[in-house]
């Protein structure tokens, strides 16, 4: 009896909530459906991502690219739900070190000393005091963070394949195109959701020079 009721509940919920749930589940492993670079020897990299997004969303993913390896970064979306081209911006945040010098002044009341180094006293036999100001320079190592856009699909077009001369961390901004309503304005009623895949692939790099 309980099982029968449960089956009915399952059927009802599947009828009403099922399509949404199934649509959401479909995003799992969606990245595997993106066009890959296997023909050029690229292999799937575990830093790839799949997810569900609304039109107009932006997200950021970090990746580490190793020295001596080639990488290919592309994005794809379910075209029925997300029309247009996914924009990718590859950004490197670079820390530039510099010394920050600060001059610090400190004042202290000290007993006055005579030419022999002895403390001096006034007529009331009280020690005579003077204010000594010392300055010192404090150096602190600071880092100024600057952003370097290494690739922007909107400006540079095509796909981004690169080789890195050293291991580096990259920030990948994934920009899902917004839906344009009447008069060129983004219209909320046109917002739709769909699957997006960020495909990162790698292959062994070709090093030049003797002995490499």
């Amino acid at each position: 009896m309980i099982m029968k009721k449960l089956q009915i509940i399952i059927v009802i919920v599947l009828l009403f909530a099922g399509p949404t749930a199934i649509a959401q589940m479909d995003c799992f492993k969606f990245v595997r459906s993106c066009d890959d670079g296997r023909r050029e020897g690229f292999l799937f990299n575990g830093q790839s991502k799949s997810g569900q997004f609304d039109t107009g969303d932006t997200t950021e993913v970090t990746m580490v690219a190793y020295k001596g390896m080639d990488y290919r970064i592309t994005a794809c979306a379910n075209e029925q739900d997300i029309p247009g081209v996914i924009q990718l911006r590859i950004i490197e945040r670079i820390k530039k070190p510099y010394w920050d010098e600060q001059v610090i002044s400190e004042s202290e009341e000290m007993p006055m000393l005579d030419e022999y180094g002895d403390e001096m006293y006034d007529d009331d036999d009280e020690p005579m005091m003077e204010v000594i100001t010392t300055t010192k320079t404090v150096k602190k190592r600071r880092y100024k963070m600057t952003e370097q856009v290494r690739y922007d699909s909107k400006k540079d077009g095509g796909e981004f394949s690169f080789t890195s001369q050293m291991t580096r961390k990259l920030h990948i901004e994934v920009i899902v195109p917004g839906t344009i309503g009447e008069g060129g304005l983004a219209a909320e009623e046109f917002v739709s959701s769909g699957c997006v895949g960020l495909l990162i692939e790698h292959r062994k790099g070709i090093l030049n020079g003797f002995g490499q």
Partner: protein, 306 residues
Amino acid sequence: MKQFKFICVVSLASSVLLSSCGENEAPIQDEEIPAVADVSEVDEVNNEEEQSFDPNLSYEVPTPSDLFLALQSLGSEGKFDFLNNPSKVSNYGDKKSKALNFGVYFADLSYASSFNYGPELVKYIKVVDDLSDELNIKSALDKALTDRLQEHISAGTVDSIVSISSDTYYQAYDYLDQNKRGGTLRLIVAGGWIEGLYLLTNMVESYDAESPIVEEIASQQLTVESVMGFLNDFADEDADVEEIMGELSDIEQLFMNFEYAEGTTESSVNDAGLTVLEGGDRPIISEQQFNELKSLVAELRNSITG
């Protein structure tokens, strides 16, 4: 701004149907995260700011295979004496220990594959397979993969072995992520990262600033933030994840003290038509830091492997 998150089924019906979804770990909420303003220039004082993780960022950790493949392509040679002994697998009784050591053994398998350890590889396939069974992820792994691995080991086709073992890792990763077992996944990733760093620091006997391996050890500074960010997602929900984060904090702190070499930020295009990324941050490790790191990593790794 939204994050990439695999979405577990939200409807009642589906959660009944997929009883494995969730297990002992709380599901991640797919929540709206407020946008933050773009910051183009930030002043940062070394060691004086609290570490905080950007909730808008999705921290991805490269697999141990990525690191070893990169080292192999630079012409490095493997040292197999430091791999965890497969016979220890029976010592790992609780969930935390099993998950961390699954990561450890997977890193060992990747290392042994990348540097062509030959027939000994079979033992590592066996322990990874055994632990996947104990962690209830074996059903997610393609049985044919282990058979294909054995075939390639016999044939000595190293690249294929590396590729197939990576696929095994991705299958385990996807399965845990899909089934909201984020805590177990994070322990596996942590175990793999620690073992990768342990093997890497043992590839050089003494410090040499010019050694490409020492440079790569310094570059792991770039991955430590990703590892901690990835773990941090589950620290509130899983005490084991919080614990391993605490155990990693000395290593993280040491990495954060590294100096950086100044570089240009130029790009060029090589003969193959690939963009060549030049310059950028290059963390530098001193001899004292190298020795301290090697010791801290060995201590933590040995506490995991027993």
